[in-house]
Assembly symmetry: C2
Homo-oligomer: 529 residues x 2
């Protein structure tokens, strides 16, 4: 048994919001409460740890992450640079370290942040004549490639745009090296796929980075290889992270034949929902809107209508699989909500279980749609760091509609369940950056000023922490064993040396745990512990 | 905390084979050892239970069961009668209780045990002119149906035999109402399938029957609906039974696309291997043999050759799925062993994990093949009750070859891992009947005499219990948390008021637990506790 005492434990359990000590047996909390009561449980062999008044919180869960992408991206050229020139310098450096013919992979550029704007294939050809180069945008909805990569992918002047994608071309119709949406896949599919073992190794290396940030769980949206790698790590007892694994839509038929439903698995690795895409994204202006993007006639791309969401949901529901639907634009969100409302009616009419459906991103809603998530008990799986990263784009492309973009406070006011995440590697997975963004609506550099962007939508520290704990646990169907600190629950917790409720909100992003425990085991400890 | 003390605990842990007390916290054993040491752990709120010197063993696992079939069969007409006439009487009784047009289902007949031999469609027509009747043989490899059922299935004089099956016909070529192997499916597929909810309800009702027998786990070989029903029970916290769930071969492609491997799940419900069929069975003489059945020219039916076993195993192995191959005849076992040996070589050459492959039944081997299971580390998943049920058939059809039929002692002598099961509902799932059969090689009625059938193949009580505990846990990849009683292991155990090591072997089948605990919870207790 392990007893942690002399702590300020914020349990998130409404029955007992605050405690000073807890006792842990193997992977679970067996008692939590007052100092004297818990210390009395000590017996020979019990380890008693004095926390010197430090804070304990439940471990945090990132409810939207791409774990394989994140883990592999930690090995890629970091293209999140201030200028295009700096990005090219980094690529050139990697080229010198890589045998000719092997792919140079990079990630993180955003032409909106570069004074030079979009790069071209020729820019890359100049530094990498013998290597195919593939650099994904921060949004993952675009890629920048060189001529070798275009040639390997068979992309030339006569190549038609794929449906749901676009090849950027110059005035003569020649591909420029920039690819959007489905066109990215034309090159991506030429890159040798990482093996399960490669991905398992990369995830293993990424775990300490997540623990250091205070993450004890994630909801992953990567695919089959990631799932297999996670099974391998779990089988070897190395997956000290609670993973809810979504299934891609193109595996739905297979899941139905097998009869695998949401919740199958264990508290380490568990099947989540089926991931669908209802639209594109804000950056490339492919999110589906009711009204055009400002100054354009473009409404974005709607991939799924309500009826399709319902039909897919009904098929998945037959085997107990929930839906997790990507919807960013107001039109996409409205369509998905209509589909999910029909699905709730079907669940009700057929006596089927009421599944944990969710919408991923929910970036902009019409005012009249905001209450619909709570009414249909659909979790809003949102990424507060997007609010501040995207604010300028949102103002530019959506204008005044942005009043109800990233509208977390209004959603909460309607009774909506929020689950916070990062969409890493699109953004950093650091949950304290997310808490900071949600509470202040400001970037790390303080922009756009003290009040933040649409300050009416700021949430409290308590609400932000709940969305990373209770909200994520509910979305995973694990609220009976995770998300708060209670007797019988898994001992997943973090230790902080500053109290997030009592510090300046603008410093919240600086918080980092001095220790992280997963399943009763300290997986991360600083010298302060 | 719960402390059980003043017990005789046979732990099956070689480091500490005997203990007198153990402490349980939530679902796991947290300490096991000497009375004084364990009682010293008691603290306020601890429940201390005195077992008055009773025996504690690890809970038993049936390593081969058809849970859905068993659960539904408990609701069917019991056709395991001494005479055909008695079977017909029972069917007639059920007909009076059933609305016309609904199916009458029964199970358990064996024409070899009936003085009248096989029945006919006309026998059933006389008592059930308005109901389709479908009665499966004890072996599940044959069925007896009436004319209404034949008509619904479209089976007439011109219907060809399906490949891998046979429609019994009279001298004029008319179907008699008896169907073998794949021909059974022609009728079975016309019976409305039970819904997931029906199966879940039937399994829920069957659980107490299994607990009363001392079973805390099973390895199930039923299919999709069963899997879904088990997920539902698990989700509702009602699956107080450890289930290893095999996947049917026809779902292999889907499992590969999803990337689901053996071991995915939790300690309640977990993916096992892919179930293949290499041959038929002894009763209908469809098990594949090297030499013909006695007095016939028939070698049985071989469904898979070594190369096919290897190819399927390689495909499954790519996603970490093991194989569980049904093989009864000596030819089938030899083919499967050759395939599994190739698979072991492939695992070795490619650095893939060494999976928990197994052969189901292993009923007869050539002497030269007996050592091959141990050499390839293939578990023999065998059903000792088959040895005594089948002994007369084995003598009649296999003659002297039966020396190495159900040859458990010889297999153990070679170092083979055994996992014992029942094949229920083919046989009773009572593990003490299995232990009795394995230790005595006699039927419950004492036949064939004090020495038993091929007494060289009797195993010890210790070996029999190990095959229901350690052997089953190893086959499931759960030997680190189940199968023996150790600190950190799940608290799955049974309490006996007689010591199986110190009682007359011929009484072993009379043993029944006075209490059964699964995951730290008493799921079954008699007044003696």
């Amino acid at each position: 048994m392990l007893i942690l005492h002399n702590a300020r434990v914020f349990t998130l359990d409404p029955q007992q919001p605050v405690a000073t000590a807890l006792a842990i047996e193997q992977d679970r909390i067996v008692a939590i409460g007052r100092e004297t009561d818990i210390l009395a449980l000590s017996r020979p062999g019990t380890t008693v740890q004095n926390l010197d008044g430090k804070i304990i919180l439940p471990g945090l869960t990132d409810a939207h992450i791409h774990l394989q992408h994140l883990a592999l991206s930690l090995q890629r050229v970091d293209c999140a640079t201030a200028t295009r020139a700096e990005c090219l310098r980094r690529v050139a450096e990697r080229v010198t370290q890589t045998p000719p013919g092997q792919w140079i992979l990079g990630h993180g550029w955003n032409q909106n942040e570069w004074p030079e704007g979009f790069g071209s294939a020729q820019d890359l050809d100049a530094i990498a004549p013998q290597h195919p180069v593939f650099l994904t945008a921060k949004s993952l909805h675009a890629a920048w490639v060189n001529s070798t990569a275009l040639r390997l992918a068979g992309i030339g002047p006569d190549t038609p745009d794929p449906s749901e994608g676009r090849i950027q071309r110059d005035a003569q119709g020649h591909p420029t090296g920039i690819l959007f949406e489905a066109a990215v896949d034309l090159v991506q599919r030429c890159i040798p796929q990482p093996e399960v073992e490669d991905v398992a190794r990369a995830i293993r290396a990424a775990l300490p980075i997540l623990w250091q940030m205070g993450l004890t769980g994630v909801h992953d949206f990567d695919q089959r290889t990631c799932f297999m790698a996670l099974q391998r790590l779990r089988g070897e007892g190395e997956l000290k992270l609670r993973v809810l694994k979504s299934l891609p839509l193109d595996a739905l038929d297979e899941a139905v034949v097998l009869g695998v439903g949401s919740g199958f698995g264990d508290a380490w690795l568990r099947i989540g929902g089926v991931k669908l895409f209802a639209d594109g994204a804000l950056g490339p202006q492919t999110a589906a809107m009711f009204e055009p993007y400002l100054g354009r006639e473009d409404y974005g791309l709607l991939f799924l209508e309500a009826e399709q969401v319902f039909e897919i949901g009904r098929k998945a529901g037959e085997v107990g699989l929930s839906l997790a639907v990507h919807a960013i634009g107001d039109r996409a969100n409205a369509e998905v909500l209509t589909g999910l409302e029909q699905l709730r009616q079907w669940e009700h009419d057929t006596g089927k279980p009421h599944l944990r459906h969710r919408i991923e991103h929910v970036q902009i809603l019409r005012p009249q749609d905001i209450g619909r998530l709570a009414q249909a008990n659909v979790t809003a799986s949102v990424q507060p760091i997007h609010a501040t990263s995207d604010m300028e784009m949102a103002d530019r492309y959506w204008g005044e509609r942005s009043r109800y973009a990233y509208a977390y406070r209004t959603l909460l006011g309607q009774g909506t369940r929020l689950a916070f995440g990062s969409d890493a590697p699109v953004e950093s997975p650091n949950p304290f950056w997310g808490i900071h963004a949600a509470v202040t609506r400001r970037r790390l550099d303080g922009t756009p000023g003290p009040e933040g962007w649409y300050p009416q939508e700021r949430v409290t520290v308590q609400q932000a922490i709940e969305a990373y704990t209770l909200g994520a646990a509910y979305a995973a169907g694990l609220e009976n064993c995770l998300g708060s600190l209670r007797s019988g629950y898994y001992a997943d917790l973090i230790v902080l040396d500053r109290n997030p409720w009592e510090m300046p909100a603008e410093d919240l992003h600086q918080l980092h745990p001095v220790a992280t425990m997963v399943g009763g085991e300290w997986v991360w400890q600083t010298e302060e512990m």
